[in-house]
Symmetry: C2
Subunit: 213 residues, 2 copies
Amino acid sequence: MTNETLLEALNWRYATKEFDASKKITDADWATLEEALRLTPSSFGLQPWKFVVVQDAEIREQLLPHSWNQRQVVDCSHLVVMAAKTSVSVAEIDDYLQDTADTRGIPVDSLGGFRDMMTGFITDSMSPPEQENWAKLQCYIALGNIMTAASMLKIDCCPMEGFVPPEYDKILGLSDLGLTAVLVCPFGYRSEGDKYADLAKVRYPREKLFRDV
Amino acid sequence: MTNETLLEALNWRYATKEFDASKKITDADWATLEEALRLTPSSFGLQPWKFVVVQDAEIREQLLPHSWNQRQVVDCSHLVVMAAKTSVSVAEIDDYLQDTADTRGIPVDSLGGFRDMMTGFITDSMSPPEQENWAKLQCYIALGNIMTAASMLKIDCCPMEGFVPPEYDKILGLSDLGLTAVLVCPFGYRSEGDKYADLAKVRYPREKLFRDV
């Protein structure tokens, strides 16, 4: 990919305020976006998250009033809720280590140093609320990754912090799974009538955002 | 970009453990990555961050012991430290609104509703430590964006949470600027000897990471 094409895609992207409800993402494109989400990097590779894909129209309607009434949650083609684990246990670390050993065909015991690093950083040093906050941070990586990935495929999205997590948790049954909703991201195609698409992107100039040392 | 090319790039990416110190990112490519960083989406578009580009070899050496001795901070081509604002004031919101008005050629008064939304969400509802945490979350979007953007250009990087923020803040003079180091990301090109490049990527299968509703 050329530098120009990359920047063109990133400039094309905007927080879509109005989706064309008649335009659906194809199965092949959606499978690609799900795979891009799955490939999101996370600290230690631990993936302390779940991605909830909400396609049930009735449930989307239930979420709407808890989403600052932003119509994107009902009008989009595919709705993703990114949920973080509300705590991270040693058992989960061991689960991940086993997956690593299986994937790489190595004995799990050979990962002892990696295990110590993870338990030292996460389970020994953080309280469950701190673990939840750490898992939330990781969800924002997934958001950054998928917004950029979607723009490469010219698929629109709208990242949202503006919703009521406890209501989402209730409606989507997340609390019982040890999860809490962190971010909402509807995907689809911009409506021709969305006037926000044509607004100039607002970013501070380099000299205000960067510091050279 | 095709679905295949996107996934190929995301699969190519890995947390580079060993950079080829002799390979430098060209000025044109680096300017593109900086622009990609600048274009990172953030909540309300507020950009509560600064990106510190550390090219001074002596300062990199000073950072090394506070980076769990990970050599990437000295061996990389370009080192970025992502710093979050330690608080967000109404003055900063007004500064951003003025930039928005200037960029779009509209009177700043027309953004009153947007102003109310931002002050309601940030300055009225969050304590300074909560504002700092919110700004940190936004930095993780920048990380997710730039890791994916870099992979499109076949530039390597290594996201790092493993460093000592107070020491970074001291060495880089961030505290006086109302900033704190959140993430470190060295960029460059993988060394041929980095055995991590060939390891199978470990990700849970779809059924474990996704929930369909």
